[in-house]
Symmetry: C2
Subunit: 348 residues, 2 copies
DNA sequence: TTGAAAGCGCTAACAT
DNA sequence: ATGTTAGCGCTTTCAA
């Protein structure tokens, strides 16, 4: 890392026979500078291709920007969360910058370069993490700034977070399906590198077992990314099984929308032949045909409160670590049939 | 802005009876430090709540991070663009940080705080801008770093960009509808604070006029944000007009998906009663029922090439300003009827 | 393994 | 209107 030959403010000052202070004034448009000198300096700046470097950052040493790490922007779940963070941050005068972490992991690299290159007041971690990664991240963050986890969290560690009870949410949704008389449930999950996926799967299995059903492992798929195509193709697969599912429980509305399409493709009616439940209650879930039954997550609040927690930590590092759970709610729309009382039998 | 009492590396050094160099070593885990001193220092760091400030940024003065400004993360159009940028950036070792500009403008503020608080190697501007805003932004960016516009651009200014021919894209789509025998076209646009909206509307009007149709101004709506709900409600409005449109031309697939729902709500068949065309060819447009006819924009390439341009500028500021146009393509799916040869009459 | 001290490039207070 | 200069907080030689 040899010293590059990029011109500094001193070079500009020397070449235009003024002081660095004057150049600084011109760059920042602060005090008055005589038009003549200004032009002269501007010309030099232009000529040598001067670009301000990091020296100026030193004067105001407190960072007023918050970093939000998010796995995939593609997942519409994230957007309201980010809006929540941003609105909270705005109140306190913080800027919000986003880092999409997907690519980074792809390359087996990590957050280090970003964290070292910029100075953040704090970070909201909206990406999903394994315990090992979390360990690494908190290490990298050490002596840097506070962190708050949003939506993803790891129980064993004493770290502030705002999240939902993933297991419980799916437990309830599964029970709902069972009470509709649907017990051949295909479960479209994310893979277990996501903590939420493990918890949701646990909720599914527990609900099934609590009602006396055995788990049919091959009715469970675990996908590496959240997108429509994957939901579609895997729903297609499940619907093609010898014992066709009569319900598809999806851990994302995105998967559920793919599943909807798969049913159409197969000529199956929703909800008559196949019930579908999504997760997240994204805006789109009201736009589908039929509209989606889904588990509402308070995404905006998830983000908003995470940032509130973070700002609290920033202002008072001694604040004790809070862990907040927000409520989910099953929103019943048209992709699931009506609940039945006791009748679990088939009807022709 | 009074000097805050936050501890610096010097405080830590003094309190642990070592030099700042040693503390620095420990923080960065570089050279070897005796375990004993390390623990001693670590304890002090913990006790005083030390957090590294911006001083360290000075040593490596070249920024290796690129800023991407995007209006609304909500619009799925942006995601592949960002992926394109990120993949290009990755090749050259740049990190990519995102700034959602929506809130900022809402508050009548601007980019200044972010631009001043961090140092970027360059910025890709994916947000839409008015000429006035652009002027302000380029001023703010002055002496800071190069900028490349992506997708949005302003003809009058000599600034590098990668974009599509908005006018032409809609011109072709309009002609397609006309050739399908649909001339009562409702046009669902963004409002004119977006440059692309002006251009697309011009394309629509020109096509209509070139075919001898008069423009029906109240069949045009101009929306302030790109989301499903707005598309839905405005399509509902258009479909409720006395002279009901037989086609809805939308400048975003998002609007088109809302329009699809509106047709369903009204009991109108797509494409038999109403043809629908979207814009962007987002992944979701294949998942709808019926699948969407849409104008494909090479979003990934838009992003990728923008970043290539930017890196070129970063490495060689004297590069001449390039302006690149990428091709769009009308993708015909099931939301539009078959083209007819000459028959413009109704059939009962 | 550790310390002393010279920068890094800029801003801002103060002086002229 | 402009110049002088003392920092800003850290990293990094170079010496010990």
């Amino acid at each position: 890392m040899q010293k590059k030959n990029k011109p500094t403010i001193e070079d500009v000052a020397r070449l235009s026979n003024v002081s660095t202070a004057t150049v600084s004034r011109i760059i920042n448009g602060k005090d008055k500078v005589k038009e003549g000198t200004k032009q002269k300096v501007l010309k030099v700046i232009e000529d040598v291709g001067f670009e301000i470097r990091k020296g100026n950052l030193l004067s105001d040493n407190d960072s007023k920007t918050i970093l939000v790490c998010v796995t995939e922007l593609k997942n519409p779940f994230n957007v309201p969360v980010i809006d929540g963070i941003q609105n909270s941050a705005l109140k306190y005068g913080y800027d919000v910058l986003l880092l999409q972490t997907k690519q980074i992991y792809t390359e087996f690299s990590d957050y280090e370069s970003v964290l070292k290159a910029q100075r953040f007041a704090g970070v909201v971690f909206l990406s999903s993490v394994t315990s090992a990664q979390l360990k690494k991240i908190t290490d990298q963050l050490n002596y840097r700034c506070p962190i708050v986890f949003c939506s993803e969290y790891i129980e064993e560690m004493n770290i502030p977070y705002v999240a939902i009870d993933d297991k419980d949410a799916i437990y309830k949704a599964t029970n709902y399906l069972l009470s509709c008389g649907r017990s051949k449930i295909g479960f479209i999950n994310s893979n277990h590198s996501h903590n939420y996926a493990k918890k949701r799967e646990a909720g599914f299995k527990e609900a099934m077992q609590d009602s006396g059903y055995t788990i049919n492992e091959h009715m469970i798929v675990r996908l590496s990314s959240v997108n429509y195509g994957l939901g579609y193709s895997n729903a297609l697969y499940l619907l093609g099984l010898e014992e066709r599912p009569d319900a598809l429980l999806c851990i994302s509305d995105v998967f559920a929308i793919g599943a909807l399409k798969a049913c159409k493709k197969k000529g199956l009616r929703v909800p008559e032949d196949v019930a579908i439940i999504g997760f997240d209650n994204i805006e789109l879930s009201t736009m589908t045909d039929p509209s989606l039954t889904t588990i509402d997550q308070p995404n905006y609040q998830l983000g908003y409160q995470s940032c509130e927690l973070l700002v609290e930590k920033i202002n008072n590092p001694d604040t004790l670590t809070k862990q907040i759970f927000l409520e989910t709610e099953l929103i019943v729309r048209d992709s699931t049939p009506l609940m039945i009382s006791k009748n679990k039998g088939e009807q022709s």
